[in-house]
Amino acid sequence: MHQLIEQAKQTVDQAELYWKRTHSLSVSYENNRLQEITENDLSSVALRAIRNGRMGSTFAVSPDQPGLLDEAKTAAAYGDPARFAFAPAGDYPSVDAHDTETERLTSQDLVSLCESVLDGIRAKRDDLPLFVEAEAERRELAIETTAGAEARCANTAVSLGFGAPIQGAGMPVFKSIDSVSPLERPDALIDEFVEWYGWTENKSTPKTGRLPVIFAPEASFLYLLPLWAGAEGDAVDKKTSPLLDRIGERVFSERLTIVDDPLDSGATGARPFDDEGVPCRRRAIVDGGILKGYFLDQRTAAALGEASTGNAVKRELFDGGTETKPSPWPIRLSVSPGDVSYRDMIAGLDEGLLVYFGMGFHSGNYPQGQFAVQAVGFHIVNGSVVGRLDNTMISTNIYQDFQSIRAVSRERGPAVGFLDVVAPYVLVDSMQVAGS
């Protein structure tokens, strides 16, 4: 790796080499049976080079792949003038997100974990077509630049997800958890799954109109992805963001505080530097409802005349990886907890929704803060869950409806896919519901 950077110094103006290696093992059970064991041993490299002031990129599986530097030089011949310099030597914060015990996990260990979860659920409900998946992963990331950055980190993660399709509808009720270290059977989560599954036995459709909606942690992506789309550097630079020139202004209820916290040691997504080798830092994005900052990588920071916030991530909404160019994303969002329990939120509603997933998010005008999704969750009447939502959509503009948040829970959990998030239950006062 170092050798390639040294070669690059001789032939190009600047270069940045990104090298990711992952080893993962996963075990999946479907309908209570072991369906598949998967092992991946992957290496991938991205090289960006600036030559004669123009930037080009290339990718490979190893830094030793012949012709890598030449490919980058060729791409640079067609590239746009480079408007920023690759990261210099950095002072990287200390982050501990690695456990050698996780590296030693075997397929048999993951089989045992999955079977302990199956046994735990079946002790309470033995009639469900359960699915369980456990994965152990080790990731190593190294970034070097000709400007002197030498960044390296290693992460481990064990993730566990389980659930069952709702009888008759096939949509799942699911729970998930992850950890840097090997996991024990999560009994409290199993109890919650069994309780929630019990709530699905009846279907219920609210009447079309405005109702309070509780967003479970799993569904927090529904309001955090529009926030990202408004606060990311490209939208700010192109002046398409609804958050343009609103730093210091109230954009949400004062109950909402959202921090980008890449340095949270012990969290699986914690990291000392971003995908451009820029040091990461803990930073409020929204503090008590007030917008505090944007997400910037080096490209968008240069366009705005600011410094990168250490938020370059190689991903797009549905895709990502080494071959994706860096763009501004949150690293790990933490929505601050409140002081009530989510069960008290439910008990306090005359009528409302508890939503743990929304289908069709990406079809909406989310960059403007809007979404209209099929609500997956439960219908609450007179303080109790009366059944799972059926044929129900919720529509909102978060910059209007999230001005009025009635409560935030003390319990927190991860979001589903899309973003690395820890979030509480959030009770929004009123939102458009399309039902019967």
Binding site: Q35, L42, T58, F59, M171, T240, M359, A372
Partner: protein, 455 residues
């Protein structure tokens, strides 16, 4: 290479094993607004190995070809471990052993166009969009994927095949008085570079839509009859029904297997749906899948009745149904899963004007904007639409997303248009794999009632 891979597979201690090795070349050129933000052209390679042993299954991906042997051994051991934990062994349907090559050749092959030609073309379209005064920004991309794949299995199959797809696609983002709208455009979907050229007239139409949407009203929330244009009906049949045709999703879902037995009536007799990877020119067209099985046309709904399903060798054995050749992986770092090739609705007999005339108060929805399925619930969006009032098309509407329950919605298809249009762009997420090689060919359809999420 083929012989070396066959040697590895032949040496594995498994009841069945296969190995796929890929050399992939990608070219990407991206504009954001007036700026060219990426020019990248590169090669990657890697392999994927699968084994069935003692009724269990294991798979592995690797990027270093030197790791093929050790990973194959590990997979055989893991498959046996998996088999020991199963009370019901996994089996594979018998498949013909193919030993052919399936190269792609085209007179205007995108592989032969220079990077400069590609750059000039996407720059031209991007500049066209930027000339529109209401445009706030653009996203314009050239995206080319070329894959040369070798597949060998322990039964003696040895296949070489190509995938070549080139697209120009992006977004037109318009803005006025606090309203912002994004309209998609996409050209291409196969190896033909000529299909990317001379598309100015269609792009101008899309730019005009972006401008007109700024003055459009948001859709109203509620239950409405709708007419879907071919782009929308393609996404509808893909999301709402197509995914439930993929047998790997049903394999371990007893409730749905019961609901989706062959012979089950699902819609009115006017509804005919099939999957076909052999239609020339569509994004989901291929000769052979990533399990060494030839792609064939598979009827899915015939005269309103469930008539077939999409399969892997494993699910074909499980369901005791014919092979369909639908096992596909986006690259070597992913295991193949059952997925649609080109999903199609056969043309019906209804003229568009008659369909509009049949609605008192509803919407005509145009332009696919993605969708999502879970179980029998689905959602999908429209880029724009028109109110229908008293049997006539009314003003344009925006911000439309709709949802429904599959079985009720299929039964509610009451008219099928008389002309088919094919898609030029795929894009289907499943099992963490974003497959761009997924096509559709469908007519207008009328659905008597869907839920619209709006203001």
């Amino acid at each position: 290479m083929k012989e070396k891979l066959a040697g590895i597979v032949g040496g594995m201690t498994a009841d069945y094993a296969d190995l796929r090795y890929e050399e992939n070349r990608k070219t990407r050129i991206s504009f954001r607004g007036e700026r060219l933000v990426e020019v990248a052209s590169y090669e990657t390679s890697g392999g994927h190995v699968r084994a069935y042993a003692k009724g269990g299954k294991a798979v592995a991906s690797f990027s270093d070809p030197e790791r093929a042997g050790p990973m194959a051994e590990a997979v055989a051991t893991s498959a046996a471990l998996a088999g020991e934990r199963r009370d019901k062994p996994l089996r594979l349907a018998t498949a013909p052993t193919i030993t052919e090559a399936f190269p792609i050749e085209s007179p205007r092959d995108a592989r032969r166009a220079s990077v400069q030609e590609k750059l000039d073309l996407v720059a031209h379209y991007n500049e066209m969009i930027l000339r529109e005064p209401t445009v706030a920004t653009t996203e314009a991309n050239y995206d080319e994927f070329v894959s040369h794949r070798i597949f060998v299995n322990s039964e003696g199959a040895a296949v070489e095949y190509d995938i070549v797809v080139a697209n120009i696609l992006g977004f037109i983002v318009t803005k006025r008085d606090g309203v912002m709208q994004r309209v998609r455009f996409a050209f291409g979907g196969n190896e033909d570079f000529g299909r990317l050229q001379d598309r100015d007239a269609e792009l101008e139409e899309r730019i005009a839509v972006g401008r007109r949407l700024l003055a459009a009203e948001p859709a109203k929330a509620g239950l409405f009859p709708v007419i879907l244009d071919p782009s929308e009906s393609g996404v509808f049949i893909h999301e709402a029904f197509g995914h439930l045709s993929e047998a790997d999703g049903l394999q371990n879902n007893p409730a749905f297997r019961e609901k989706l037995r062959i012979g089950e009536p699902l819609g009115k007799p006017l509804l005919n749906v099939f999957d076909d990877p052999t239609i020339p020119g569509l994004p989901g067209t291929y000769a052979i899948d990533d399990e060494g099985v030839l792609g064939v046309r598979t009827p899915l709904i015939t005269e309103g009745v469930l008539s077939g399903r999409l399969h892997s060798r494993e699910t074909a054995a499980e369901f005791d149904e014919p092979l369909s050749g639908n096992m596909r992986a986006v690259d070597a770092f992913n295991t193949p899963v059952v997925r649609m090739s080109n999903i199609c609705i056969e043309a019906g007999s209804d003229a568009f004007e008659d369909m509009v005339a049949s609605i008192d108060r509803g919407y005509y929805l145009v332009g696919a904007k993605g969708g999502q399925t879970s179980g029998d619930q689905f959602t999908f969006g429209a880029q724009w639409g028109f109110k229908i009032e008293d049997g006539r098309l009314g003003p344009m509407v925006r911000d439309i997303n709709m949802s429904g329950e599959l079985f009720a919605t299929l039964r509610a298809i009451s008219q099928v248009g008389d002309a088919i249009e094919g898609s030029e762009r795929g894009g289907c997420g499943k099992a963490g794999q974003m497959n761009r090689l997924s096509g559709k060919a469908t007519p207008h359809i009328k659905i008597d009632q869907v839920t619209i999420g709006g203001v």
